[in-house]
């Protein structure tokens, strides 16, 4: 059969080129149409989902390539630049079929991914042949700009639901769904469950036995509320919640080649940013403030070192070997972390789901284009020295003092668009792209104003503490040199007549050395004072003529250099003298000493000559940086945190909710765009977002996170039990995954909480706050909170790793696993055994005299699991103690009763309830 005939006779809308491939595939198409027979194809169930998956990105509401949309049948019939896409009843004549089944890859649609398979093409064909019926009232895809998350949230009315249950508007939103679907809510959790839950949630540590007993004694609402307020004010709250945000903000200590050491990624001293997060959360600094500081503290708080470390957020993306990678990570994660937008998807081409163009990507990158890292001095710490520019092949160890921060170095930095995600493919002739947010979100009032920086920021040498510390260092050196000289002089003058000529000569030279040292110290101090005076003159802070002051400083500095050279000559003379007067003559030593002497003489000649030079050059007290910043990042930060930004608050409250309830309202917290998940409770999300920005309670500042924490943990929803009664079986068929929160979600503690809780119940947790990261190898021996251990992309602490420690590269949501090694990590871990011992002995002490097994076991349950044991548990425990004592006695283990109790406590530390938040 010659199947090409009908094609050649077709009412072609495409050019002749498209005919050839269509012929080739005809065989396939025929086979397909017979395969599906004459059954009517369900457009909504089979055709539309296929087109949505594979075609809408380019032929839908987002884009209309070739003027064509395929999101309704009507639009298909209307067609695009080259006519209708579908000819009802005639699949052979439908360009849609021709293009999807083309054997010619350059013509075949979709252009990316796998071609449609035979079955899919047959379905399309069969649907067209069946008349391409349109469902009634088919609506085109809505305008992407109308996507729910791209419209600023407004405070929705609180539903009239949850009567008798709801304590907060939050509850009413949940109750409305429960009531709509007929879900029975779980009752309130027992007091001990709620207490442990809220402790672990708010401070990341379990309550003590005393806390438990006190709450069981008075489990009233008022008492619970007091506990909540206390926990929110507890400094450990900041530590707990910092760890959450550090996942999202990608906290990482430096890495690259730690064994060398060579800092390639992130940077040393970045722990100051971590401590800033803890401080900011404890102080309930607004979320908006936090975002602004992390993006642009150098522009917004340039003279506040406490805030400047916040730019660690950008330092973290640093990659010494590839500036583009630094930029790329900054774009991607600023988009995901603050905006819930996958701007990174527009790196190579226009976004497939959201209206973010390829150009928007580069406009966003341009915000960061001027940045560079710098080291700043910190009071009381040595000067870390200037940031070194990279020299190929060299390695750079970590700085160990001062701080690291961002500044705008290249004020005229330009950003050029490149294609295919490859920085070498800059499009020639295309002008640079100015900074700006994605245009569909930008609004009208976006403007960038350069920022004038205070002189101390451009030239830190002006800072009082630097001057003071430098001066003090010179003064104390001088005092020390003078004291040495006095002592030296005294020794010299008290030298008796019995002294030999050699001794006398040695003492003379030594005295000269000490005189020169004192002179050099004095000259150094004078030089420093002259340099400070010159700095003052230069910055208009004194009456002096800047040029004259600079000349004085320059002369004083050269004087100081000459004094140092004199000291060196005297020292060289002393060394020469000693070399010549050794007990055993050493020709080598003498030769070396002569060499040094001769070098010192010529150095002194040069230095003295230099003192008569005419110069205004002097060494500054610090490096200098631009006295302006582009203002790009503060404009970005302002745009992100303004009320009208539809995404920022939603992203923030979504994370907050997820950390309290185990799952966020939008399952994809990094993507609130059209390809992200739908919120389970859209109104609740918006209500929370507005509540964050515009709190309804009087006296609460905007963007207060503690306010939301408080509301959430005081809600009825938060207090629900995580168990479900037998009668809740209807719930399980309606909502088996508990997406609508008809009960609380039990969860496994995060890795850090497991470790910290182990230390806490053992009574050995070291609650020191902040400081440099601790080596991972100390994880089981140093009892600081897990937050303070090195966390980076190169390796992780094995214990934390086993319990699903976050990936420092990207962790917008934690995952939980249950693997046998976790069991081993608790049962075979010397730390767990140490804790079991310390708990056993402290409980014995607490309970007085010789507590019986029952009292001991009850107290141990309360201490470790924060609950009383059940009758069955006590019975099982008693059997265990008896059995264990026998075993131990049989093996002649000393004090078998105590050891059995330690084993009992160790078993509780291995209990599933220990690592579970119910």
């Amino acid at each position: 059969m010659d199947r090409s005939i009908p094609l050649l006779a077709r009412r072609s809308v495409g050019g002749p080129a498209s005919l050839v491939p269509a012929i080739v595939v005809l065989g396939l198409a025929w086979a397909g149409s017979t395969a599906t027979g004459g059954e009517a194809v369900d457009y909504e169930a089979k055709i539309k989902p296929l087109l949505r998956d594979r075609c809408f990105a380019c032929h839908g509401a987002l884009k209309q390539q070739a003027g064509l949309r395929l999101d309704t049948v009507a639009l298909m019939l209307e067609g695009g630049d080259s006519g209708p896409a579908v000819e009802p009843g005639e699949s052979e004549f439908s360009p849609l079929i021709e293009r999807v089944s083309s054997a010619e890859p350059s013509l075949r649609m979709p252009p990316e991914g796998e071609p449609l398979d035979d079955e899919q093409i047959a379905l399309l064909r069969s649907w067209i042949d069946g008349g391409a019926a349109a469902p009634e009232g088919e609506e085109p895809e809505p305008d992407p700009r109308d996507h729910w998350a791209f419209r600023p949230p407004t405070r929705p009315p609180v539903p009239d639901a949850g009567l008798g249950w709801a304590r907060d508007p939050i509850d009413a939103f949940l109750a409305a769904e429960h009531e709509r679907l007929g879900l029975d809510r779980s009752p309130e959790a027992p007091p001990h469950v709620l207490l442990r839950r809220v402790y672990l949630d708010l401070i990341g540590l379990p309550p003590s036995r005393e806390d438990l007993l006190a709450f069981l004694d008075d489990p009233s609402d008022a008492h619970y509320e007091r506990i909540v307020d206390r926990l929110l004010a507890d400094p450990r709250h900041g530590e707990r919640w910092a760890r959450h945000w550090m996942d999202v903000w990608r906290y990482s200590d430096w890495y690259g080649r730690r064994s060398v050491p060579d800092v390639l990624n992130s940077y040393a001293m970045i722990w100051r940013w971590r401590d800033w997060i803890v401080r900011s959360l404890n102080a309930d600094a607004g979320y908006d403030h936090i975002v602004r500081m992390m993006l642009a503290a150098d522009e917004l708080a340039p003279d506040d070192p406490e805030q400047l470390v916040a730019t660690g957020y950008l330092v973290r993306n640093f990659y010494r070997w590839n500036y583009n990678s630094w930029m790329k990570d900054s774009v991607e994660h600023t988009g995901k972390a603050f905006l819930g937008l996958t701007i990174n998807c527009a790196h190579c081409h226009d976004h497939k789901y959201d209206p973010i163009s390829h150009e928007d990507y580069f406009a966003f990158r341009a915000f960061f284009e001027p940045i560079e890292i710098r080291h700043d001095r910190v009071p009381g710490e040595p000067d870390p020295g200037p940031y070194p520019t990279y020299d190929y092949g060299k390695s750079y160890g970590p700085i160990t003092s001062g701080m690291v921060r961002i500044f705008d170095k290249t004020l005229d930095a330009e950003t050029f668009l490149y294609t295919r995600g490859e920085s070498r493919n800059v499009v020639p002739g295309r002008p640079p792209i100015p900074p700006g947010p994605p245009r569909f979100l930008a609004g009208d009032e976006f403007a960038i104003e350069p920022v004038e920086l205070p002189p101390e920021s451009a030239y830190p040498g002006l800072k009082a503490f630097i001057r003071l510390e430098e001066t003090e260092a010179c003064e104390s050196a001088l005092a020390e040199a003078r004291a040495t000289l006095d002592a030296s002089r005294e020794r010299f003058e008290s030298m008796g007549p019995e002294a030999s000529d050699v001794d006398r000569e040695r003492a003379t030279i030594r005295l000269r050395v000490d005189e020169m040292k004192a002179a050099a110290a004095l000259a150094a101090l004078e030089s420093l004072r002259a340099r400070i005076a010159a700095d003052d003159a230069r910055f208009g802070r004194g009456g002096d003529d800047p040029d004259a002051a600079a000349r004085l400083a320059s002369a004083a500095e050269r004087e100081a250099a000459a004094a140092r050279a004199r000291l060196e000559l005297a020292s060289a003379e002393l060394a020469d003298f000693e070399a010549r007067h050794q007990a055993e003559p050493d020709a080598d030593a003498v030769a070396k000493a002569e060499q040094r002497l001769s070098a010192a003489r010529s150095a002194l000649d040069a230095a003295e000559q230099a003192t008569s030079e005419d110069s205004a050059d002097y060494t500054p007290l610090s490096p200098s940086y631009p006295d302006r910043s582009t203002g790009r990042r503060s404009a970005l930060a302002g745009w992100i945190t303004r009320r009208g930004n539809p995404l920022t608050a939603r992203v923030a409250v979504n994370h907050l909710w997820g950390w309290h309830f185990g799952e966020p309202l939008v399952a994809t917290p990094h993507d609130l765009g059209r390809n992200g998940a739908r919120p389970t409770h859209p109104e609740l999300l918006d209500w929370l977002a507005v509540e964050l920005m515009e709190p309804s309670s009087p006296g609460v500042p905007p963007w207060s996170m503690k306010h939301l924490h408080r509301r959430i943990v005081l809600s009825a929803a938060y207090r629900m039990a995580s168990t479900s009664s037998e009668s809740a079986s209807a719930n399980r068929s309606i909502d088996p995954e508990n997406r609508l929160l008809w009960r609380f979600r039990p969860s496994r503690m995060e890795a850090e909480v497991v470790r910290d809780s182990l230390l806490a119940v053992g009574g050995v947790l070291d609650e020191a706050i902040g400081g440099p990261e601790i080596d991972q190898s100390e994880g089981l021996t140093t009892h600081r909170r897990s937050l303070y251990f090195a966390h980076h992309g190169e390796a992780s602490m094995p214990f934390l790793e086993l319990f699903d420690a976050p990936d420092p590269g990207e962790c917008y949501r934690r995952t939980t696993s249950v693997v046998p090694q976790q069991s081993l990590a608790l049962s075979n871990n010397p730390l767990a055994i140490e804790m079991a011992r310390s708990i056993t002995s402290s409980l014995s002490a607490e309970l007085g005299a010789t507590p019986d097994d029952g009292a001991f076991m009850t107290a141990a349950f309360e201490r470790v699991l924060c609950r009383p044991p059940s009758r069955e548990e006590l019975a099982a425990g008693a059997r265990f103690l008896a059995r264990m004592t026998n075993i131990l006695r049989g093996a002649s283990i000393p004090e078998p009763d105590t050891r059995a109790r330690e084993d009992f406590v160790h078993a509780l530390l291995n209990h599933n309830d220990f690592v579970t938040i119910r």
Binding site: G793, T816, P820, S827, M884, I887
Partner: protein, 499 residues
């Protein structure tokens, strides 16, 4: 095909009745011995219920040809040209451009665009043909051509099925993860082949982890190669170490603790958790943790035994090259893999190189020669050892890499001394040997320059499908409701190499 038994009838909606819960975890007041408490069927049933009523019962869908898999991965991209697919034309046209050969310019072949999808960076282009860096000759009775860097493995030629027509679509090293999951870096991730097999087949030996990773790496992305993702952590590969002091992290009983003491303690932990299970019958994590403690307790004893290479004869050690410095590490890894297979481990991923070791952008001659010398004897030793033990009747060995290397010389501006080949997703070779696999065959073909596949192209998931087929699994029947897998994720078994 034998129909599989229906999954055991569960209560509605995945809800587990208390009585069932207790039966499943083997808890009873009679105090059964630990090992017997959690008998295999019970574990399996609990697992099936964990994922909902519809989850399949583990076990083959049809009679299997193989029981387990040793999967050897060579990271960085082995040059197919200098190993299993030598191309004399490269020597004939050495130094010439593609245009100067009588062949079609491979860059203009539509396959070039179709099969290369860069994550970062541009397409790999190279103009000048780079000659073979090693000689080759026909080996075995089958006469397959193998390069001279494989003197030992060459003697196994008649036992191997070479697939010379592999391609992948990522031209950078995420192709490694793609080889294990079937998914390009830019697409949503999928579970890895080892996890699917573990999920589909369950356990042959409940005392050992069933999906094992043997290897060392610094780049933690390597873990993507044994990630179970949505299949759940119990189907993740478990990393074992050949360091006898610590075969597993925290794998040994603490100093001073008696064996009997720990045993009693584990039983008590189990009892406590079981009581908790009555309180929280819906808690899947709890059920998983009870299983984890069981497995942990047994693994603690079984893993060191399985990995105790001291139990092997000196002759066997020599066979694997353990007596020689350059082959000792990899020889040990493969010998351990054999011991694990012998004990019923379903899938052992042996990472037989450093991460990216084979990535010879320059100095290919030296680097490939060195890497071949490290693995030639160990791999040949494994094949010979399996054969003499009859294990080749139940174990299938796969040797793979993420992509091949370019026929042309890599000419990046940053390369001072171009002497290597770039990444080449368009063609490479994978070979299989052992249970159910034809012996001494070459399947598929690349063009004269080794650039494109011209006969029987196979995407990486065809290797997955082949293994699943040998193990008696139909990939489509492993699907998880609500998790859409694509046709290409399933692949097609390579029928031509099946015995």
């Amino acid at each position: 095909m034998i129909a599989r038994p229906l999954p055991p009838a569960g209560p509605p909606c995945g809800r587990v009745r208390r009585r069932t819960f207790l039966a499943d975890i083997g808890f009873g007041i009679t105090g059964l011995a630990l090992g017997a408490m959690l008998h295999r069927d019970g574990v399996v049933r609990a697992a099936a219920l964990d994922t909902g009523a519809a989850a399949p019962d583990p076990g083959p869908h049809f009679p299997p040809r193989a029981k387990n898999v040793i999967w050897i991965f060579l990271s960085g991209g082995v040059s197919h040209l200098e190993t299993w697919d030598p191309k004399p034309a490269l020597n004939r046209y050495a130094g010439k451009t593609y245009a100067e050969t009588p062949f079609e310019n491979p860059f203009e072949n539509p396959l070039f665009r179709e099969r290369s999808r860069a994550v970062v960076g541009a397409d790999r282009t190279h103009a000048q043909i780079f000659p073979l860096q090693v000689g080759f000759r026909k080996r075995g009775e089958c006469g397959v051509e193998i390069s001279d860097w494989w003197p030992e493995l060459a003697s196994c030629a008649d036992d191997i099925a070479f697939v010379r027509s592999m391609y992948t679509t990522d031209n950078d090293h995420a192709a490694e993860f793609q080889f294990h999951s079937g998914r390009h870096k830019l697409d949503p991730r999928e579970p890895t082949i080892g996890s699917w097999i573990h999920y589909g087949l369950g356990s042959l030996n409940e005392n050992l982890p069933q999906f094992v990773f043997l290897g060392k790496y610094k780049d933690t992305r390597v873990r993507e190669n044994f990630d179970a993702l949505y299949l759940g952590p119990e189907h993740d590969g478990i990393e074992l170490s050949l360091d006898p002091g610590a075969p597993l992290p925290f794998g040994s009983r603490p100093d001073g603790m008696l064996a009997e003491e720990q045993r009693a303690q584990f039983e008590f932990i189990r009892d406590l958790n079981a009581l908790s299970g009555v309180e929280y019958p819906d808690d899947e994590q709890l059920r998983a943790r009870i299983k984890a403690y069981e497995l942990a307790y047994r693994m603690q004893a079984s893993v060191p035994e399985a990995l105790d290479l001291g139990a092997e004869s000196a002759e066997t050690e020599r066979l694997y090259g353990i007596d020689r410095e350059e082959t000792a590490i990899y020889g040990r890894r493969l010998l351990a893999a054999r011991r694990l297979a012998e004990r019923g481990v379903r899938f052992t991923l042996v990472y037989l190189s450093d991460y990216g070791e084979w990535d010879s952008h320059t100095q290919l001659r030296d680097l490939h020669a060195r890497s071949c010398a490290r693995v030639d004897r160990p791999i040949a030793g494994l094949l010979k050892d399996l054969k003499r033990r009859g294990m080749d009747q139940e174990t299938v060995v796969v040797c793979c890499t993420e992509f091949g290397r370019t026929p042309g010389l890599e000419m990046r501006d940053t390369l001072a001394n171009p002497t290597g080949r770039d990444h080449h997703p368009h063609a490479f070779t994978v070979w299989l040997a052992g249970a159910g696999v034809k012996k001494g065959v070459v399947h598929g073909k690349t063009d004269e320059l080794g650039f494109h596949v011209v006969e029987h192209p196979h995407y990486v998931t065809d290797i997955h499908a082949t293994l699943l087929h040998l193990l008696g699994l139909d990939p489509k029947r492993l699907d998880i409701p609500g998790r859409k897998r694509l046709e290409i994720d399933h692949g097609r078994p390579i029928a031509e190499i099946l015995a």
